[in-house]
């Protein structure tokens, strides 16, 4: 039995910023480090975590059947094909509207805590009931955002709610970073976002076309394409979660050659 299970909410406010991709890749990365990990898809209305993990055809039961004692927990848990330390638990299926309550969430997470080192909760978008239910059983949170005004604004709303509910630590993952645009000052910089949101940065993830390819296949990047830029970022985030001191990638270093030297010169603060 795992006694010091970490229950982490992965949330963003805005949809489409990369919550589910982060959950899937962190799940794989942590499992690879030998940590038993459960990923809970709290977004049962529009669930997608199963698809990203390539487990969509293996779901038989959900958390709801477990709570209604129609099946045992281990029957509902879907073990990953290649990473046996990783299990998926869908909260429900899209047919069930309005079933999940904060107490349900607490009960199911307590059951998961019995046998996992990590429980990652993939939160639905929005700041309404779905989010509040998902938050009910979490101790700490990772807020995912993109360097775009709408994503940062929504992240700020979510951070406000997390603070009110005494969830801490809350850490930031800045996703879909484009080094070239940042260098040209046509994208909010890393400091801009961390200053505005006032959160410690757990990591940044570089924009990477391979993310789409991996989604097509249902194989998270961290599983088979560990050398792709985004996969390295995800692996680093998992290591930092485990307390390893991994330096952040400097986006300016990512674009090299004369062009980047010039762009760095142009970024020089002169007054």
């Amino acid at each position: 039995m795992a006694t010091d299970t970490r229950v982490i909410l992965i949330c963003s406010g805005k949809g489409g910023v990369g919550k589910t991709t982060l959950t899937a890749n962190l799940g794989i990365s942590l499992a690879r480090q030998g940590l038993t990990t459960a990923v809970l898809d709290a977004d049962f209305g529009l669930r997608n975590l199963d698809l990203l993990l390539g487990l969509e055809n293996r779901i038989v039961y959900t958390a709801q059947e477990v709570l209604e004692e129609e099946c045992r927990l281990d029957q509902a848990l879907v073990k990953h094909k290649q990473e046996s330390n990783l299990c998926l638990l869908p909260a429900g299926n899209p047919r069930m509207l309005d079933w999940l309550k904060p107490d349900d969430m607490k009960r199911i997470v307590n059951m998961l805590k019995e046998q996992f080192n990590y429980v990652l909760i993939d939160c639905p978008a929005g700041v309404e009931d779905g989010f509040k239910n998902a938050m009910a059983a979490s101790k700490e949170a990772i807020v995912v955002t993109n360097p775009e005004v709408s994503a940062v604004r929504d992240a700020d709303r979510v951070i406000g709610l997390l603070n009110t509910n005494a969830i801490k630590p809350v850490q930031l993952v800045l996703n879909r970073v484009r080094p070239r645009m940042m260098a040209n000052q046509e994208m909010l910089s890393i400091n801009d976002v961390t200053d505005i949101l006032a959160l410690p940065l757990l990591g940044l993830v570089l924009e990477d076309e391979q993310v789409i390819v991996s989604t097509n296949r249902g194989e998270p990047l961290t599983l088979n394409s560990v050398n792709s830029p985004a996969a390295k970022c995800y692996l680093n985030i998992a290591k930092r979660l485990q307390g390893e001191d991994i330096p952040l990638i400097d986006p300016a270093e990512e674009s090299s050659g004369f062009g980047s030297k010039f762009r760095r010169l142009m970024q020089t603060k002169i007054f």
Binding site: E148, V149, V152, R153, D156, R157, I159, G160, M182, N184, Q185, E186, M187, L188, S189, D192, I196, L197, A198, L265, M266, Q267, T268, K269, I270, F271
Partner: protein, 115 residues
């Protein structure tokens, strides 16, 4: 405000500034409002009332006066910047806790009666 070499060149060439700084400024403004839950109308009403109060004591430049919300490190502050044209010396005396009665003629009369 920090300026980069690119900003200066853009300024010299009268080009639009790079969009990141625009994004940063717009975000800071909208978040200050989001966090304080104050609408533009409420803020404007508050601004007018603050100006009225201040105008009782000093002559201010109403057109230049600005009341805004500023945010740093998740703390939002109400910042008023009110250029003073001149103080209204003689019309209103400063509050003196020992001798408050002087400020209000009505009260002065009362105290006169009492003594």
């Amino acid at each position: 405000m920090a300026m980069t070499l690119r900003d200066v060149i853009n300024k010299l060439l009268r080009r639009q500034p790079a969009s990141a700084s625009t994004a940063r400024e717009r975000l800071q403004l909208v978040l200050a409002h989001d966090r304080s839950d104050l609408s533009t109308e409420l803020l404007d009403q508050m601004r007018r009332e603050i100006l009225d109060v201040v105008a009782k004591y000093v002559e201010i430049d109403v057109d230049e006066g600005a009341v805004s919300l500023e945010t740093e490190d998740r703390m939002t502050a109400l910042v008023a910047n009110l250029p003073i044209k001149r103080t209204m010396t003689g019309k209103i005396k400063l509050k003196d806790p020992k001798n408050q009665a002087e400020e209000n003629p009505q009260e002065t009369e009362d105290s006169d009666q009492n003594s």
